[in-house]
């Protein structure tokens, strides 16, 4: 027996709290300013040192000073104390500072609650499987800290952790039920701070030769597609992003403002697919050319770029259709055609002269196009991610001097030549290709599949896609960038893999990730409605859900209570029968005191309840015989005697 040590904190709890705080703040070091991580580290070490030396904690004014300094630093760094990043920074600072104030049990409770809260903030930055697992472990550690805090030093570390694991395990059914049935609300509830989403890569809105090449080194997934039927050939997979029509001699830019809606004349049956776009802070849906009719909340620009209303800050799914063979704006407006013939007033004289020479020689625009294509396919052009630097006349330099470039160089030079030759042409950026994952059948398109190609307009035929890169390096379009690159070029590790088993492993891992993204992270109000419809509650509102939740959680609570309270009885059969006899005796208002032996009880019964005594005497002797008589299995007499007991 121990008396309660007041509310002061047991010294052995502090290491648990330090560890729990560390586990919940450490992953934030990755995206926090260095000074903040350093400050937190110093405070952690200080707290640990004070504990180790069993020294007094710093006074309140020291802490107040530290809080003020830290708040000032956060304010200086982020220009605010609120918002996502600043908020997380403040939480980390508070957590670290609280470790210098561990005096009472309440302080420890605050640390653990803060730790639980900090767990959530990690999901701002990553919701991947490893993050989830790490946070599950950290949560169990925090729970173990709570157990240690309230249970005192008498249980071992291992037992504490096991108990915390058991509690977590028993909490999982509740989580599943709530996750599936808790009425989901589509966020955000209010305007998100500016920094809610940042640091994602993707296509940009303009193209300067060189910036797609940067993307090509990234193995990050841009989007995943599942076709309703068979996946089309790889060289048909052109995912359209922004269309660039203005050229200032260096950079290609899109046309601003709305034109007439595009007119598509399908020449092949539409194919349906579902695309899941990773967040890229842009509105392009990167639809497969040419997109079919879209849902009303989605838009289609006059240049055939499908867009959503809001920038894609979350991973989002869209059901789309596409026609691979189509006729696009066969009767294009004159203003658009004029726009797509404009070249900068000066610059790149040689390319301009070459184009003009074709225009003079040939009347048929198709022949001029063939001349340009044969220039790329017959002359010595190389496809490379490391093109030499271009001078002030980039197109001339590329076409006549360096002749080494990436898709954007080819698209840019080709469109320049075409415009000079009097053929309306423009640059289209987007993604090309994609790799089918044999494990789950999804086509994965990565940042390294980013591509630029050209579109040329012919009277009567409309806009026609021309991919000059395909003329230089057919492998790029047919087999992907890894196949197109000569050996020795830098490539992202992900797509460099050529060995088979590693590839298989990668496919599996990505399929698991995809399932995670699609079914677990992608569970939204829409999916919840679908699930409820499948469960036979097609028009369940929050009241139905609340009722269902209450019933299910109640049932779970009962099940867990029953499970934890149940203990296998460890009585031997004779003792169990004796207990039964005692219960029956209790019904006749005779209680057996715990210190009473069977014979003593019998004597009392003989005195107090003579009517009961003969039957009970038989039970007592049968029990003593069975239990202590040396004949272990002879229970029949006891059973018979018990049956005769009223």
């Amino acid at each position: 027996m121990s008396t309660r040590p007041g509310e002061t904190l047991d010294r052995g709890t502090t290491p648990w709290l330090l560890l729990g705080a560390l586990a919940t703040t450490l992953p934030h070091a990755e995206h926090q300013p260095l000074w903040l991580s350093a400050l937190a580290a110093v405070l952690f070490v200080w707290g640990g040192w004070l504990w180790w030396r069993n020294e007094r904690l710093p006074g309140r004014w020291v802490l107040a000073l530290l809080v003020a300094v830290a708040c000032g630093a956060v304010l200086y760094e982020f220009r605010t104390l609120f918002g996502r990043d600043a908020g997380v920074a403040m939480l980390v600072v508070f957590m670290a500072l609280k470790l210098l104030e561990l005096r009472s049990r309440r302080d420890a409770t605050v640390v653990v609650t803060l730790g639980y809260f900090l767990l959530l903030t990690h999901y701002f930055y990553s919701q991947s499987i490893p993050t989830g697992l790490w946070l599950l472990a950290a949560m169990t550690l925090l729970t173990a800290t709570l157990i240690r805090l309230h249970g005192g030093p008498s249980i071992s570390t291992g037992a504490t952790l096991r108990y915390a694991g058991l509690l977590t395990l028993q909490a999982v059914p509740f989580m599943l039920v709530l996750y599936l049935l808790f009425p989901r609300v589509a966020g955000p509830l209010w305007g998100l701070p500016q920094d809610a989403h940042s640091g994602r890569s993707g296509l940009s809105e303009q193209m300067t030769p060189g910036n797609i090449a940067n993307l090509a080194l990234s193995g990050e997934i841009a989007f995943r597609v599942r076709f309703a039927g068979l996946s089309p050939e790889r060289d048909k997979l052109y995912w359209r992003g922004p269309v660039l029509e203005y050229f200032d001699g260096l950079t290609w830019k899109p046309q601003v403002g709305r034109g007439q809606p595009p007119r598509i004349e399908p020449l092949s049956p539409p194919i349906a697919y579902e695309t899941t776009l990773e967040p890229q802070q842009q509105r392009w849906l990167l639809a497969l050319d040419a997109p079919g009719p879209l849902r009303p909340e989605l838009g289609l620009s006059s240049a055939l770029t499908a867009t959503s209303r809001e920038p894609l800050t979350q991973r989002q799914r869209f059901a789309l259709t596409a026609t691979l063979d189509y006729r696009f704006n066969a009767d294009e407006e004159a203003i658009v055609l004029r726009r797509n013939l404009v070249l900068p007033r000066a610059g790149n004289p040689r390319a301009r002269a070459l184009g003009e020479s074709w225009k003079a020689a040939e009347t048929d625009p198709a022949v001029r196009l063939r001349k340009a294509m044969s220039l790329f396919s017959e002359e010595e052009f190389f496809y490379t991610l490391q093109p030499p630097l271009l001078g002030e006349q980039p197109v001339d330099d590329f076409l006549f001097v360096t002749r080494r470039g990436f898709c954007e160089h080819y698209a840019s030079a080709f469109v320049f030549l075409m415009r000079a030759a009097g053929v309306p042409a423009r640059v289209v950026t987007g993604y090309q290709g994609g790799e089918a994952n044999p494990v789950d059948g999804f086509v994965v398109v990565r940042q390294s599949d980013a591509h630029a190609w050209a579109e040329v307009w012919f009277a009567g035929r409309g806009w026609v896609r021309v991919d000059p890169t395909a003329a230089v390096s057919p492998a790029r379009v047919e087999a992907g960038i890894a196949a197109a690159m000569p050996d020795g070029e830098p490539l992202p590790a992900m797509i460099q893999l050529r060995s088979n088993w590693l590839r298989t492993l990668l496919f599996r891992w990505e399929a698991v990730n995809n399932a995670w993204d699609q079914y677990i992270l992608g569970y939204n109000p829409q999916r919840q409605r679908e699930l409820l419809a499948r469960l036979g509650m097609p028009d369940a509102d929050w009241r139905n859900l609340a009722a269902a939740l209450a019933v299910l959680c109640g049932a779970l609570l009962l099940a867990i209570a029953a499970w934890t309270l149940y203990q296998r009885p460890r009585l031997d059969p004779a003792a169990r029968l004796w207990q039964k006899a005692l219960r029956r005796l209790a019904r006749s208002k005779v209680d057996c005191a715990p210190w009473e032996t069977p014979l003593a009880l019998l004597r009392r019964v003989e005195g107090a309840r003579p009517a009961l005594a003969p039957a009970f005497r038989e039970v007592v002797f049968a029990y003593l015989q069975a239990r202590y008589g040396g004949i272990p299995d002879d229970l029949t007499r006891l059973r018979g005697a018990l049956a005769r007991l009223p």
Partner: protein, 318 residues
């Protein structure tokens, strides 16, 4: 009023007469969230808002897992009490002004230990924390301040636990029929003058303290003060403890009489004075008797006698 009292009696009744061991069942265990639990709930609400606002799927999952954790913690706090057997023990008499301890025997037939069981009698008393090992027994002495002489009943005792998570407190009220005798607080005043014994001395041949007449073996009733330590220590302590014998002479007896106490003083003061005399006389190992209105205890000495005297004083009607 009648309804409330009836409800209270129904809710908090102790089975039968309060002397039998009690097994805590779900009917006696109550559960409510603690302040830490409310803080936790507030944090969960904030987290849920954040998860919805930022559309964090795993944030939802985390919040729901923590909700599940709290609910499981509630079940486990309940389990920490459920099935615990509490049996009343025997308490030792104390003096008024001291702390009386009421031992409760806690028995567990669970395979896991029950930790952090907190017991508190009444509202003002100090609480104690105890634990019961798996399939173990433990005795917890519940402290209650003994303020007045007489029988001190164990007030309604609250047995509570917040283990394992501290988010919920499970408690049960115990009302075992236990009482502790509280002696009056002794008032130290000089003893009254000795009076010659009214009986002849030979009846008290053993009890006198005048002429040494030899040794005899010590009996448990003899005060340690009478042990002849020097004589007992001979022969390397092989002998049993010896007690000096005295003989002859008229044994002086103390009569601690109610009428000897200051007449003007309040009854409680007079009782306290008598208690002080009893203690002083017992300290001197004198032979003393106690005379109260309506009650007389013949002169004697020893611990049992002292207890009888003090008990009489404790229960003397004011």
């Amino acid at each position: 009023m009648g309804v409330i009292a009836d409800l209270k009696r129904r809710l908090f009744r102790w089975r039968s007469d309060g002397t039998a061991p009690l097994r805590l069942s779900q009917r006696r265990i109550f559960i409510l969230p603690t302040r830490a639990g409310l803080l936790f709930a507030a944090a969960l609400l904030a987290m849920l808002t954040g998860a919805i606002n930022y559309n964090l799927a795993l944030g939802h999952a985390l919040v729901f897992l923590l909700v599940g954790l709290a609910l499981t913690g509630m079940v486990h706090a309940f389990r920490n009490l459920h099935g615990l057997v509490v049996a009343p023990g025997r308490s030792e008499p104390v003096f008024a002004g001291e702390v009386a301890y009421f031992p409760l025997h806690l028995a567990s037939d669970r395979n896991t230990p029950r930790l952090a069981l907190e017991l508190r009698a009444g509202k003002e008393s100090r609480s104690i924390t105890t634990a019961v090992a798996a399939h173990g027994l433990n005795e917890a002495a519940v402290p209650v301040a003994a303020l007045r002489r007489g029988w001190l009943d164990l007030p309604r005792t609250r047995l509570e636990t917040t283990y394992p998570l501290g988010l919920f407190v499970a408690w049960s009220y115990l009302q075992p029929a236990m009482r502790c005798l509280v002696y009056p607080q002794p008032l130290t005043t000089p003893l009254p003058p000795q009076q010659p014994a009214s009986h002849s001395g030979d009846q008290h041949g053993d009890g006198g303290q005048e002429d040494f007449s030899g040794f005899r073996e010590r009996q448990p009733a003899d005060s340690p003060r009478h042990v002849a330590w020097k004589a007992s220590a001979r022969d390397a302590g092989q002998r049993p403890l010896l007690v000096k014998r005295f003989a002859g002479g008229a044994q002086a007896e103390l009569q601690l009489d109610w009428s000897l106490t200051p007449q003007a003083a309040a009854p409680e003061v007079r009782i306290a004075t008598l208690a002080g005399w009893v203690m002083a006389a017992a300290a001197e190992d004198a032979c003393y008797g106690l005379r109260l209105p309506g009650r007389e205890i013949a002169p004697d000495s020893g611990d049992l006698h002292r207890h009888r005297c003090l008990e009489a004083l404790a229960l003397f009607p004011a």
